[in-house]
Structure formats: structure tokens, C-alpha cells
Amino acid sequence: MGQQSSAPKITQQDKAIFQLKQQRDKIKQYQTKLNYIVIKQTNLARKAITNGQPDRAKFYLQSKKRQESVINKTYEQLTNLEKLIDTIEFKLIEKDVIYGLKQGNEILNKLNNEMKIEKIDKILDDLEDNKIKVNEVSEALGSGHNLNRAEEDEVDAEFNKLNEEINGVSESKLPEFNQLNEEINGVPESKLPEAPKDKIMPEIPTNEIQEPTKEEEASKEEHKNEPIAI
């Protein structure tokens, strides 16, 4: 019995309810006993009448009546006990509810503290800083890697030519073309299916795109003050 560490705990309230329920059980047992006596008395009375012993029969019936009134009294006591048990159990539930409310309130407070406006502003500020840095880096890198505008145009022209040769149509449906085209002109071709945005600008951190619009505006304002902040 040593490994009962995980066993459910018995609280003081549990013990109290246990006591009450035991009392209730005892009353019920008592009632069973009385009921048995009542049945026995009735049978005896019946027997006495058939044997022509009216006095004896009456005695049994009186005794039976007494038992029955006792039974009724025990029912009252039983009701009292059960009421008490119910009340305690309900109070315990109320206690749980209050505890739950308290917990919920604490968590809400904590969350509200975490979401102070100044904190959010600072985060957005930092984000803006980082974005600029990323842009700078990608620009620096981009100039080395990417083709310049004239070169891109040439690629375009060559692609169109080839395409026409092969398909007989100048319309291009290749996603690469679409991407390039968009990168250069900044406008997606209306005929083409929507290009996934993250593929277009891989260098830009995704959080920029996910920013809620309201905060974005706020951050733009912050952005103006930036040099001062730094």
C-alpha cells in the first residue's frame, strides 16, 4: 500500500459528507428493519384473526401502527440529512466556480500586463528597424546577384521569341516568367493566376506582410521618428 501517491485525496469536506451519508445509510437500514417488522405484524394479525383471537390481532395492528409512525419520522430525518448533503455538495461546487473565476481573472490580468501599449510600440519599432536592416542587406546583396534592368528586358525578349517559336503564342504561362515580370514591373499580369507573394519577395521577412493594418499605420508614424529614437 506504499505506492498510493497518486491516490485521490480525501478532504475534510469529503469526510463530513461521508459521515452524513453513513448516518443516512443507517436510517435506511433502520427503515428496512421496521418495514420487515410491519410486514411480520400484519401477517401475525391476519393469523390471529383466522385463529379467532381478535384481541391479539388488535395488539399486533397497534404495534404495526406504532412502527409505521416511526418509519414516517425517520423519513423526515432522512430528508434533513439528504438536504444537508446536497447543500454541502453544492457549496463545494460553488467554491470550485469561485476558484475558477479567480484563476481566470489572474490570467487575464497577466495577459493585459503583457500587452501594454508602450511594449507593443517598442516591439513594432524594433521590427521596423530590423526590416530596414534586412532591406539594406538584401539590396547590397541583390545588386551583385541580380541582372540589371536592361539585361532583364533582354531575357524577356528572348523568352518571348522562343516561346513564339515553340508554341506560336507570345502569351506566357510559365510561373518563372510571371515572377520575373512582376519583379521588374511590380504589377502582376492580370491574365495570370495570382502568384504567391512570398515567392516574389523572398528576402522580406514574412512578419511585415502579416502585420495588422492598424498597427502598420502606427508603426509608420513611429518610423518617421526613428532617427531620433536611435
Partner: protein, 195 residues
């Protein structure tokens, strides 16, 4: 009960009542006896037998003498002697289909497990769970002696031997950490909290 238990044919076979000398046949004989005891006990909801094979506790209300005896057959005037009875009961114990009520006092009789303790505990747990009584204090009395106001104790659990019920709780639910027993002022197990 309107219908009484129907014994299999072998129960009317005279040599069945005598311990067979051949080990192989004896094993088969014991196996058949075990099945008879188990189906018989399940039929009459007997959870324990005396050491002489007389029902000790059952959840049905018939008198013991209304039940046909297990280890004898009046029609063919045969009955097992007590030595053979004990051998049969011993076989049940070996097969984990029975257990001494008290290991130190075998004369108190044996529990018969036509349903395993785990099976019993599942029944009990499901009942407590379904009726929203998990975490509530339940007395052993209210678990076995329900009156009509109390309601829906499954038929299987009604009038169950309290000792047996306590054993189920103790050996399965308490070990699983699902139950805690409460001791009453007479130092007896009187209640349980099942979570």
C-alpha cells in the same frame, strides 16, 4: 427464478463424480468441472462458494436450497466426495478463476471469478462515471443496497457482496490510483471516492 440452471450432459455421467486416475483424463475432468462451476455461478450470480461448494454469496434472492447442487446429481445418485471437491476448487484457483476469501483462513471459502476483478471494476467505474458521481463520496451501502429513490445501479452491481465489492475497489481501482477508501468509526471500510 423461473428457469433453473441446465447442467451439461457430462453432469449426468457417473464416472464424472470420481477422481480419474489417468492424469490426462483427470485434467479434462477438472477442466469440465471448472466450466460447470463458472457457468453455474454466473447463472445464479454467485460470487463466492464455501469450501464445500455451497453458494456463500449471490446477488439473486433465491434460497440456497432452491438451487440445484453443483457437486451432486440425485438422478444418478452420485456426488463428489469432499477431497475431490477441494481438488476441483484448487484447480479453479490455479487457473485464476477463483481465490481464497482469506488466504490464511481457507475454510472461509473462495471467490469465484466468472467475471474478472478488472471486469467488475470496469462496471463499477462506468456506472460512477456515467452518473456523474466521480469525485463524490459514495458509501459501500449505497453502492450495493440501492433503494428506488437512488436509482440506477446496474443490475449486475445490485446486492453485490460488500466484501467482494471492497475487494474489487481495493485490488483494481485503488491500485490504479482511481479510488480511495474511507474508514468509518468502526474501523471498517465504509465508503469510497472514485475519481
Amino acid at each position: 427464478m423461473s428457469k433453473s440452471f441446465e447442467f451439461p450432459k457430462i453432469h449426468s455421467f457417473p464416472p464424472f463424480y470420481t477422481k480419474q486416475p489417468n492424469q490426462t483424463i483427470l485434467n479434462q475432468q477438472l477442466e469440465s468441472w471448472m466450466n460447470i462451476v463458472l457457468t453455474y455461478c454466473e447463472f445464479y450470480k454467485i460470487t463466492s462458494l464455501s469450501i464445500d461448494g455451497i453458494p456463500k454469496f449471490k446477488s439473486t434472492t433465491e434460497e440456497n436450497n432452491a438451487l440445484p447442487p453443483i457437486f451432486s446429481n440425485d438422478e444418478i445418485k452420485r456426488n463428489c466426495n469432499s477431497e475431490f471437491k477441494h481438488l476441483i476448487l484448487q484447480h479453479l484457483i490455479h487457473q485464476h478463476k477463483a481465490e481464497f476469501i482469506n488466504q490464511k483462513k481457507p475454510e472461509l471459502g473462495i471467490y469465484i471469478y466468472w467475471r474478472s476483478l478488472v471486469g467488475w471494476s470496469d462496471l463499477l467505474y462506468q456506472y460512477v462515471d456515467k452518473t456523474g458521481q466521480r469525485g463524490a463520496i459514495l458509501t459501500i451501502y449505497e453502492l450495493t443496497q440501492p433503494d428506488d429513490s437512488e436509482g440506477y445501479i446496474p443490475q449486475e452491481l445490485k446486492n453485490l457482496d460488500t466484501e467482494f465489492l471492497i475487494k474489487i475497489i481495493k485490488e483494481v481501482l485503488v491500485k490504479q490510483g482511481k479510488a480511495q477508501l474511507l474508514i468509518n468509526e468502526d474501523n471498517e471500510i465504509g465508503g469510497v471516492k472514485i475519481v
